[in-house]
């Protein structure tokens, strides 16, 4: 039993002494272990997660703003659309949303492209379990390089996160808009502002201070929701931590070790806690800025402190 010595593919390593991993010990072993290609992919996945958050947060906020606006609308279909969006997305479990909605969305795009690009197609699109569109309608194209597939998956993930978190943000913003004292709007009307003017000039600038606690909650939940990415085929930090931490036997790696998942998850814990701390500090500052000059208890306190 046992494998004949397999010619191990050695790659240009960062440290020259990594060429003979079997002979290494202590700190050098660790240095080589932590700079394998696999670990580099793990470090890069932190970037993926941060990039996802950086793109998703503003897009979700935009979805939320549109949702809240339409839920306030006096035009029936728009109002109905906004309220349905908020109610349905908030009601469906995230995991179901991520599993089914994304596949449906992907197939919806492909179906549209199929209708546009392959008019001469005579076979049914649904063949038993298979979803078959012509090659030109595939998204991304079957011939596209792997990074296009990955980018496409990433964009689908951003869109799905934005739709889900947008619905929650819409509800927060909807509440915040109603929390702005009625007297402010009445005063605006008394000055002769139109509905549109009082919305953009009076309501929107004042609502953020009411929305921020709810939005900051959402942000915290979003930070921790990123492992759902793996359901979409995007390899995130939790996937890599599990993969790297799992037991490695000497037959399949130069760096065998036992079950180290605990240490990898500990590193993730530190990352998440650190990220939460930074978020709290930043959100605290934003809150201070937004409170400035507002007709709220916080704004009053700032005024008194300055006086």
């Amino acid at each position: 039993m046992g494998l004949p010595a397999r010619p191990l593919r050695r790659r240009a390593a960062i440290f020259s002494y990594c060429a003979e991993p079997e002979l290494l010990e202590g700190a050098r072993w660790l240095a080589c272990y932590l700079t394998t290609g696999k670990h580099m992919a793990f470090y890069a996945s932190f970037g993926t997660v941060l990039l996802l958050l950086a793109i998703t947060a503003p897009v979700a906020l935009a979805f939320g703003f549109l949702g809240a606006m339409s839920a306030r609308s006096h035009i029936f279909p728009i109002n109905w659309l906004g309220r349905t969006y908020i109610a349905i997305v908030r009601g469906v479990p995230d995991i179901a949303f991520f599993l089914f909605f994304v596949i449906a969305l992907d197939q919806g795009f492909e179906w549209l492209r199929h209708q546009a690009l392959c008019p001469g197609w005579d076979q049914p699109i649904r063949q038993g379990n298979d979803f078959v569109v012509c090659d030109a309608a595939k998204l991304p194209l079957g011939t596209a390089p792997q990074w296009v597939h990955e980018t496409y998956g990433f964009l689908l993930a951003v869109l799905t996160f934005a739709i889900v978190f947008g619905a929650f943000a819409a509800n927060v913003l909807f509440g915040a808009m109603r929390a702005v004292p009625r007297a402010q709007i009445e005063t605006a009307e008394a000055y002769g502002m139109s509905r549109r003017q009082s919305f953009w000039r009076i309501l929107v600038p004042q609502m953020w201070v009411y929305a921020l606690p709810g939005l900051s909650n959402l942000w915290m939940v979003l930070i921790k929701a990123t492992p759902l990415l793996f359901l979409l085929g995007v390899e995130d930090i939790v996937y890599w931590a599990r993969e790297l931490g799992g037991t490695k036997t000497p037959r399949f790696t130069d760096y065998p070790h036992g079950d180290w998942r605990m240490w990898y998850f500990l590193a993730l814990l530190v990352f998440y806690l650190g990220f939460t701390k930074v978020s709290e500090v930043v959100l605290g500052r934003v809150m201070q800025r937004l409170t400035f000059g507002q007709a709220t208890a916080g704004g009053e306190a700032q005024r008194k402190a300055a006086a």
Binding site: M1, G2, L3, P4, R6, R9, R11, T36, G37, K38, M40, A41, L99, I103, D106, Q107, E110, Q127, G128, N129, D130, F131, V132, V133, D135, K138, P140, L141, G142, T143, A144, P145, Q146, V148, H149, T151, Y152, F230, L231, G233, E235, R242, E243, G246, T247, T249, P250, R251, F252, T253, D254, Y255, D259
Partner: protein, 242 residues
């Protein structure tokens, strides 16, 4: 917004360029990447193992450009069916249940015995024990059939963990997957008779993709005939040769 539009344009452009460049087509091979020696990620983070070598050789013989993609075992069939990749090559045994949803090539390994791995020095009666298995595998189906208590886990690593923690009495999986654990860990050993399950491992294709399946089927046949498949089976120690 502008940036987003530019990004989309760039994507569309590269996609059409890629199509123009290689019209012969790239075949995307989906695997799990967590089931040594069949498929696993090596230190460089690339797919490696018996199936990597078999798959690359098959693609060369069928004159196809292939690309490796990893996907979680749980959703490996749904993602094939919805077209995220074109073939499954992930240590998947040919069974009747799976045949209803996808089509298999001929088997490229012999039906591999499945073994019970438990704590060394114990012996169990499988029917009355708590057995761990990966969800959606023939082994999990077998445990449910014989009426033992089944603990299902999403990935192979966790099934071994369950035995180490004492949560399960044994894990049932392909013998070639469990052998390295039994050999290299003093506390783990085989604890019951091996059993034969399934019809060997084959590549899975969409039912509508008969043409591609035929190409790979022919390539497997030619590898069987010239003995190169047997050489790989021996090299990676994945059961009997043909």
């Amino acid at each position: 917004m502008k940036l987003f539009l530019t990004g989309t344009a760039v994507l569309a452009l590269t996609a059409s360029l890629a199509m123009a460049a290689s019209h012969s087509g790239t075949v995307r091979l989906g695997t799990e990447g967590a089931y040594p020696p069949f498929n696993f990620l090596n230190d460089a983070g690339e797919v490696d193992g018996f199936e990597r070598e078999v798959g690359d050789e098959l693609c060369a013989r069928a004159e196809l450009t292939c690309e490796w993609v990893t996907n979680e075992w749980d959703s490996i069939i749904p993602n094939l069916v919805s077209g995220n990749y074109d073939a499954i090559i992930a240590g998947m045994s040919i069974t009747d249940e799976r045949e209803e949803v996808i089509d298999f090539t001929q088997n490229y390994t012999q039906p591999d015995p499945s073994s019970y791995l438990g704590m060394a020095g114990t012996e169990i009666d499988p029917a009355g024990a708590v057995i761990a298995a990966q969800a959606g595998t023939i082994q999990a189906a077998h445990i449910a059939e014989i009426g033992a208590t089944l603990l299902e886990f999403a990935n192979p690593e966790e099934t071994i963990g369950a035995v180490r923690d004492g949560e399960a009495d044994a894990v049932l999986a392909d013998k070639s997957f469990l052998t390295p654990y039994a050999e290299e860990s003093a506390e783990l050993d085989f604890v019951a008779e091996d059993i034969l399950l399934g019809g060997g491992i084959g590549m899975g294709f969409r039912e509508s993709d008969a043409e591609l399946r035929a190409k790979f089927d022919a390539a497997i046949q030619s590898m069987k005939e010239d003995g190169s498949l047997n050489a790989l089976i021996e090299k990676w120690d994945v059961g009997e040769t043909f």
